[in-house]
C-alpha cells in the first residue's frame, strides 16, 4: 500500500506503507523531516499532518485524546490529524497527507 506525503518544502513523496504501521512510522521510516517527539504515544502533537480533503471522510475519526492533543499543535483545521493515530489499512491505501508547520 502507498502513502503520499507532502514534506515541508512542498515536495510529494510516495512511501510504501507497512500494514498496521502508523502513518507517523511510515513517514519516519521514509526519512522525511518530522519531529514526532513522543514516538507515537499521542502525547506531544509534533506529528501533525493535514489529511487531503478527499480522504478525511474515509478514515476513522479522531479520539477525544487526539483532539485534545491537537491543542498543542499550530494552524489546526478540519483536516488536522496526528499521524501517529492514522494507520496503514487497506482502506487507507493511497492516503494523502501534508506535514504541518510546527511538526518539523
Amino acid at each position: 500500500m502507498k502513502i503520499l506525503v507532502t514534506d515541508k518544502d512542498g515536495q510529494e513523496h510516495t512511501l510504501e506503507g507497512t500494514k498496521d504501521w502508523s502513518v507517523m512510522e511510515v513517514i519516519r521510516d521514509g526519512g522525511l523531516e518530522m519531529l514526532a517527539q513522543c514516538g507515537g504515544s499521542c502525547a506531544c502533537a509534533t506529528c501533525h499532518v493535514y489529511v487531503d480533503e478527499a480522504w478525511i471522510s474515509k478514515i476513522p475519526e479522531p479520539t477525544e485524546e487526539e483532539i485534545g492533543m491537537l491543542d498543542g499543535a499550530f494552524n489546526v483545521n478540519d483536516q488536522s490529524r496526528l499521524s501517529c493515530q492514522l494507520f496503514c489499512t487497506d482502506e487507507a491505501d493511497g492516503l494523502k497527507v501534508t506535514i504541518a508547520p510546527g511538526s518539523y
Binding site: 517527539q37 502525547a43 506531544c44 491543542d71 494552524n75
Partner: protein, 349 residues
C-alpha cells in the same frame, strides 16, 4: 545571577529515568551525584509527556505509568541522597587543571565534579513556539512563553493563547492586574483543571475578560512591539488589537547548550563506545536516548543497562587507585549497608 559553587563526584545532566537510575549504580560504587534538569520536577519525558500513560516494558514491572516509574526510581535512589538542581539548564562544562570539570547552569550554579554524565534524552524541554515567520523579533519584548514577574503585565492589553493549565492559571492570576485580557484557544474545550476553567468562564460571564475561539495566524507590530494579532476563526481572519501575547502551547525538546560542550555529536546524538559509554571527552559520558552506537534502541531499559556500565568506568575517575569490586545487592552486606537495608528491616519489624 547568584554564584554558588558546589562539589561532587558526578554531575548528571538530565533527571529522566536513565539519569535517576544512574544515581543508583553510581551510589552503589560510592559516588555522590548532583542532577540538573530544566523541568521543575524529576522524571524527564516520563513526567512531562506521559505521566499518566502506561509503560509495559520495564523488566519485572508488568505495568506502571510514567509518574509511577519516576516515583519508584526516586524511592530506589533515596539512600544515596542525590542533590537536584531543577528548573535550570546546564549551560557549559569546563575542564579544570586537576582534571575535574566545572559545570555551570543558567542560574549561575557552578558544580565542580570529577565526572559528567549526559543523560539529556531528546534535549531540554522548552516552550513550543508558533511557526510564524519573524516571531523572534517579538520574543522577550511583547511575546512571552512564561511569566517571571507578574508586575510586568500590569495595565497591559494581554492575549493569552492556549487551552491547558498554564494558559488557564495565568488567565486567573493576571486578570486582576491587566487592562484587558483575552484568552485565545482553538476550540471551546479546555484541558485544564475544571476549577480553573470554571473561574475563567465566570470572568467571561462578568465581562471581565474575553474568550476568543480562534487561532493566531500572525503577529503585527514594529520594533518588537505587538499591536495586533491576526486571528482566524470560522468567519475568516481579522486583526485583534493587543500589546502583549503570552503563548502556552506546551513544551518541546531542543538539544540546547549541550551541543556546544565540545562533545562530538552525530545527527543530534552522541556516539559512545559500548564498553563504558564514554564520549570523545575523557570523564564525560552519555547514556540513554541522547547516545548512539551500533544496535542502539531508545528504550528506558537500554538506559538502565548503559548506566551500570558507565558507573564502572566512572569509578576509575572518582576513586583512582581503588580497586573496583563487583558485587550483588542480594548477597553483599556492603551494598546492603549503603542501601540502608538493615534500617528498613528494623523499621518494618
Amino acid at each position: 545571577m547568584t554564584e554558588t559553587i558546589e562539589k561532587t563526584d558526578v554531575v548528571i545532566i538530565g533527571a529522566g529515568p536513565t539519569g535517576l537510575f544512574a544515581v543508583f549504580e553510581l551510589g552503589l560504587n560510592d559516588m555522590k551525584c548532583h542532577l540538573i534538569d530544566i523541568l521543575d520536577r524529576p522524571g524527564g519525558q516520563c513526567a512531562e509527556l506521559y505521566p499518566e500513560k502506561p509503560i509495559y516494558d520495564i523488566p519485572a514491572i508488568p505495568m506502571c505509568t510514567g509518574q509511577e516509574l519516576t516515583d519508584r526510581l526516586m524511592e530506589q535512589i533515596k539512600p544515596f541522597n542525590p542533590v537536584f538542581h531543577l528548573s535550570q539548564m546546564a549551560d557549559k562544562i569546563e575542564k579544570q587543571e586537576d582534571g575535574s570539570w566545572n559545570v555551570t547552569t543558567d542560574r549561575g550554579t557552578i558544580i565542580n565534579t570529577k565526572v559528567v554524565v549526559v543523560a539529556a534524552g531528546g534535549g531540554s524541554f522548552v516552550p513550543k513556539k508558533p511557526p510564524i515567520k519573524g516571531i523572534e523579533a517579538y520574543e522577550g519584548n511583547s511575546l512571552f512563553y512564561s511569566v517571571k514577574k507578574m508586575e510586568q503585565f500590569r495595565d497591559k492589553c494581554v492575549v493569552i493563547a492556549g487551552g491547558g493549565d498554564s494558559a488557564l492559571d495565568w488567565v486567573v492570576n493576571l486578570q486582576p492586574i491587566v487592562k484587558e485580557l483575552t484568552l485565545v484557544h482553538r476550540r471551546d474545550d479546555f484541558r485544564a483543571a475544571p476549577d480553573t476553567v470554571a473561574k475563567m468562564r465566570a470572568l467571561v460571564a462578568e465581562n471581565k475578560m474575553t474568550l476568543k475561539i480562534a487561532q493566531i495566524m500572525s503577529l503585527k507590530g514594529d520594533n518588537g512591539q505587538i499591536n495586533a494579532l491576526a486571528l482566524k476563526d470560522e468567519t475568516g481572519e481579522k486583526d485583534y488589537a493587543c500589546d502583549t501575547l503570552l503563548a502556552f502551547y506546551g513544551l518541546t525538546m531542543k538539544l540546547g547548550p549541550v551541543a556546544g560542550f565540545g562533545i562530538e555529536f552525530q545527527n543530534e546524538v552522541i556516539p559512545v563506545n559500548t564498553a563504558n559509554f564514554e564520549t570523545n571527552l575523557p570523564g564525560v559520558f552519555a547514556i540513554g536516548d541522547i547516545n548512539t552506537y551500533p544496535g542502539k534502541m531508545k528504550l528506558i531499559l537500554s538506559g538502565f543497562h548503559e548506566a551500570a556500565l558507565m558507573a564502572k568506568k566512572a569509578f576509575e575517575y572518582v576513586h583512582p587507585g581503588r580497586k573496583y569490586r563487583f558485587q550483588y545487592t542480594t548477597s553483599s552486606s556492603d551494598l546492603q549497608n549503603k542501601l540502608g537495608v538493615e534500617e528498613k528491616q528494623e523499621q518494618a519489624a
